[in-house]
């Protein structure tokens, strides 16, 4: 009975996820043409092609990596939603990972799939709501949000997020965290220009940490056998 319900839910999630993703794709690619119609001029497709070759390819590679890395973390429902709503690294991934910890679910289980979907859907709705309210109140809010005093706070949202996350994850995995932290610090100190490509540096950092975790896990299993 339970297995049947889970299978039905997952089948429905994939069907719905694919349908809404395709509709969103059409809407997002169609919007510049629709707005172009309002403005009286359509996109210059040769400039789009040239631009895509110069900046788009890098982001395409990044998208493939994001898909391969984050889909297993998010599951089906969370995955479809996260790729539709965006802001993965700075919001959806930390949100879903923490939600998993709060609920105590295990990656790859139906429970985790449900927790991840609830988390990403809530996070996306709150973002949509905050941005909609912000846009609605743009004129009165602008002086507050752009005040000189508050600028350092808003410029440091991501460091604040990763500081809190670092404590949460390092305290239980200090030995594991040491090597990637050291390696990344040395790399960024010796090649400061890399700070502009931090999102790409996640790949070697994550790869190294997974390798070290795998070696430790393998050793633990051998010892337990």
């Amino acid at each position: 009975m339970r297995e049947e319900q889970i299978e039905r839910y997952q089948k429905g999630t994939h069907r719905l996820g694919r349908i809404v993703s395709v509709i969103t794709l059409i809407l997002l690619v169609g919007a510049p043409f629709a707005i172009g119609g309002v403005l009286g001029a359509y996109p210059d497709l040769s400039a789009v092609a040239k631009g895509f070759l110069s900046v788009g390819l890098v982001w395409t590679v990044s998208s493939v990596v994001e898909f391969l890395v984050y889909t297993p973390m998010l599951g089906a429902g969370g995955g479809y939603l996260a790729f539709i709503t965006g802001n993965l690294i700075n919001m959806k991934i930390p949100c879903a990972v923490n939600a998993r910890d709060i609920a105590g679910t295990e990656t790859g289980t139906p429970e985790n799939e449900i927790i991840s979907t609830l988390s990403i859907a809530t996070s996306s709705l709150v973002t949509i709501l905050v941005l909609a309210l912000g846009v609605l109140l743009l004129v009165p809010l602008q002086p507050v949000l752009q005040s000189e005093t508050l600028q350092p706070a808003f410029a440091n949202v991501v460091p604040a997020l990763f500081g809190a996350m670092a404590y949460k994850y390092y305290r239980k995995n200090l030995k594991l965290a040491l090597a990637p932290l050291l390696l990344m610090s040395v790399l960024f100190i010796l090649v400061p220009s890399l700070t502009g490509s931090t999102s790409f540096m996640i790949i070697p950092a994550g790869g190294l940490t997974i390798l070290l975790a795998w070696l430790a896990w393998k050793k633990g299993r051998k010892a337990a056998a």
């Binding site: 043409f33 965006g86 295990e106 709705l125 997020l161 809190a164 305290r171 994550g206 070290l212």
Partner: protein, 247 residues
């Protein structure tokens, strides 16, 4: 009507707002389905409510940060388009970079309303859309088969916990390490190699935020204040960000 007024006109708001509303509806549908499925397989509703509360409080501050991205881009692209981009699919670090690169492709020196033309805008908007939609395209074609492949290897009974959870935690530790390393590198060599004269605020903010998180964890684990857990990340971030204002 000047260019910025055209970009902020009612029809443009209607097009962008319509897409945002569609995505909001999609989120509600996924949420209701997940809630019902959770109840059907016997998940604790209190646990699911805690996840929803946590996710909502966690999101508010980063969302305000994203709103600043909307404001920053609205000077050149009008308000509706950045609003759409950052509500749906976009990412804060991506939008400005691609918008700037796209502006160069249409012959603009800088991304600004003064140089913007209707065709320039439509071209920039299309390029911004095309560059970042591949995650969604891959999801349409491969989400199901990829997850099936990963889930296909069933855990052998009595063999202890699988590697899946450890791998996810390790990936996240790698992600956090990359960012912390970049803050340290920015401070140590951002203004000349080993000059230690670069931007130190991200380091300070991360340290304060981590300390406050330690305090929240202590209260929630040692003082039986488990309810604090749902607010700990948002609270730590807020105090960390305040440190940047005071410093």
């Amino acid at each position: 009507m000047n260019m910025l007024s055209q970009l902020n006109s009612a029809p443009v708001y209607l097009i962008c707002g319509g897409i945002v509303a569609f995505v909001a509806l999609v989120c509600v549908i996924f949420m209701v389905r997940a809630w019902r499925a959770g109840r059907a397989i016997g998940m604790d509703p209190a646990k699911m409510k805690r996840v929803i509360t946590f996710s909502a409080t966690f999101t508010v501050l980063p969302a305000v940060g994203i709103l600043l991205g909307v404001i920053a881009l609205s000077g050149a692209l009008g308000t509706p388009w950045p609003w759409l981009r950052l509500s749906v699919i976009g990412a804060l670090h991506y939008e400005t970079q691609v918008a700037q690169a796209a502006a160069e492709q249409v012959g603009m020196k800088t991304l600004s309303a003064a140089e913007m033309t209707p065709q320039g805008f439509a071209t920039i908007a299309l390029l911004m859309s095309l560059c970042i939609l591949w995650g969604m395209v891959l999801s349409v074609f491969f989400n199901k088969s990829y997850l099936k492949k990963l889930g296909g290897k069933k855990k052998e009974p009595g063999k202890g916990p699988g590697f899946g959870d450890t791998a996810m935690t390790a990936m996240f530790i790698g992600l956090v390490s990359a960012y912390l390393g970049s803050y340290l590198g920015g401070f140590a060599s951002g203004n000349g190699m080993f000059a230690f004269a670069g931007d130190w605020k991200p380091l300070l903010v991360a340290a304060v935020s981590a300390l406050v998180m330690a305090g929240f964890t202590w209260l929630s684990e040692k003082k039986n204040m488990a309810w604090l857990e749902g607010f700990s990340v948002a609270g730590s971030m807020l105090i960390g960000m305040l440190a940047a204002v005071i410093a």
